[in-house]
């Protein structure tokens, strides 16, 4: 479903991604981890074309992202993205946050959009909050709305960029629970996270990045019991000792 081949990206002279290869099949849950600045966010943003890249190929559902041109917005609409800082639209209430892109991008009617939005709000446990503005919600609630907003577009794959790292500890659980449920329903997911317990439970594979390279791409159980590289071992021991 997602094929990344020999992907490289530079900011000026500094390489942020180097020769990355990654393929994600339908229904797979892949966790991406690695130290700060290793290029995890950049990798995600190359997948939906938010960031341009200089070398290699990114193919999503048979479409080359770099050559999508006018088809790029439609392609993006099929990849749900969830950000660290939620990025709900503060001037719109929850319902409008969920309906805007359904109407303007997918061309759904207001009625159909609202029906869809209600189903997904219910799924993330926020039915009673449809009329509130983002600022009136807790961080955990905002992130769940953001997930619902992405799901409204019927994505073929969800991309998560550290969805819980801006949250207070007591709110992390509610967001992970929603993601758990998604994975159980068979959603294809790429998740950048430092929540190793979560990774252990739901990931099929773990990708470890450092310095813009993919150093490991290992089946989950194997990654946690015996990481192949010294750097991944160090990273794990440091993160698990927290």
């Amino acid at each position: 479903m997602i094929e990344i081949r020999k992907l490289s990206k530079w900011y000026g002279d500094t390489a942020v991604l180097r020769d990355c290869d990654l393929s994600i099949r339908k229904g797979e849950v892949v966790v991406v981890c690695g130290p700060s600045g290793s290029g995890k966010s950049t990798l995600l943003q190359c997948i939906n074309g938010l960031e341009p890249f200089q070398q290699g190929d990114v193919v999503v559902d048979g479409i080359h992202v770099a050559r999508a041109g006018r088809a790029l917005p439609r392609l993006r609409a099929r990849l749900g993205m969830v950000f660290q800082r939620f990025e709900l639209f503060p001037h719109l209430d929850v319902m409008d946050n969920l309906c805007l892109a359904q109407r303007r991008v997918l061309g759904r009617t207001q009625g159909a959009s609202e029906d869809k939005a209600r189903v997904l709000l219910d799924r993330v446990g926020l039915s009673e909050h449809a009329g509130k503005y983002p600022a009136q919600l807790s961080g955990g609630q905002q992130q769940r709305v953001a997930i619902a907003r992405a799901l409204c577009m019927d994505p073929i794959c969800m991309l998560f960029d550290e969805p819980t790292s801006a949250l207070d500890p007591e709110m992390i659980g509610e967001v992970l629970e929603v993601m758990n449920q998604l994975a159980a329903d068979g959603m294809t997911m790429v998740v950048v996270t430092h929540e190793m317990g979560f990774a252990h439970r739901i990931a099929h594979r773990v990708v470890f990045m450092d310095g813009g390279r993919i150093l490991e791409d290992t089946e989950t159980a194997a990654f946690f019991s015996a990481p192949q590289t010294e750097r991944a071992r160090l990273f794990l021991s440091r993160i698990l000792s927290h």
């Binding site: 993006r76 950000f83 991008v105």
Partner: protein
């Protein structure tokens, strides 16, 4: 000087009113057209296309580096060359102010647009919104609120600047007062009166701007 003569103010009111209508009309016209053109300029500068942003940048910086009086004179002299027939001081002033204010408005708009966090743009794009949709539904509505007081302040400056049309002989509020003062031989009364009038109008508007900047953000 034999006392302050209020009668002259009363008698010249209709004439001053005509001048006020011109100044207010010019302000309104320049605000609306300046905002429209200014939005295009701001978008051109932010577009990332060199052949859009470069001309816009040159235009904005040129307008902001030349004194308004000179622009007024230049347009007055140059416009007839373009249209091939005399334009008239009033119409020339309308075109000039719209073109001049557009440069200032575009800078205010550009700053407001740049003030929207990058994450909001990314979220909009990630949902599949096209650039113009992102501007219309996400960036524009969020940028406009904090800009309103600054825009209104610019409109106040614009209203004061309309008095500069004296350079091409158009009859604005100040000019009307000056003419009345001469006709009745009571210039002091008229200048005091017109100064008060500018003060009341501009101070009132600036109060409005302050009220906006306070009240609007609570919501």
């Amino acid at each position: 000087m034999d006392g302050f003569d209020f009668a002259v103010i009363r008698d010249s009111l209709p004439f001053v009113w005509q001048g006020f209508l011109f100044s207010a009309g010019l302000t309104l016209f320049a605000t609306i057209c300046g905002l429209a053109f200014g939005t295009l300029l701001a978008l051109a500068r932010l577009s990332g296309h060199i052949w859009l942003s470069l001309p816009a940048t040159v235009y904005v910086n040129a307008m902001r580096s030349i004194p308004l009086v000179m622009v007024i004179l230049w347009f007055f002299l140059a416009l007839p060359l373009l249209t091939g027939k005399p334009v008239g001081a009033e119409r020339s002033a309308f075109v000039t102010f719209a073109a001049f204010e557009a440069a200032y408005f575009s800078e205010i708009l550009r700053a407001g647009i740049l003030g929207i966090p990058r994450g909001q743009l990314q979220a909009a794009q990630a949902l599949g919104l096209a650039p113009m949709q992102t501007f219309r539904y996400i960036v524009g509505p969020q940028a406009i609120r904090p800009m309103l007081p600054i825009l209104l302040t610019q409109v106040i400056v614009l209203f004061q600047d309309t008095s500069l049309v004296y350079a091409i002989g158009a009859k604005d509020m100040l000019k009307a007062a000056e003419i009345s003062g001469k006709n009745y031989n009571r210039p002091v009364e008229m200048y005091v009166f017109i100064g008060l009038l500018y003060f009341v109008i501009c101070f009132g508007l600036s109060r409005l701007a302050r009220g906006w900047s306070r009240g609007r953000f609570a919501a």
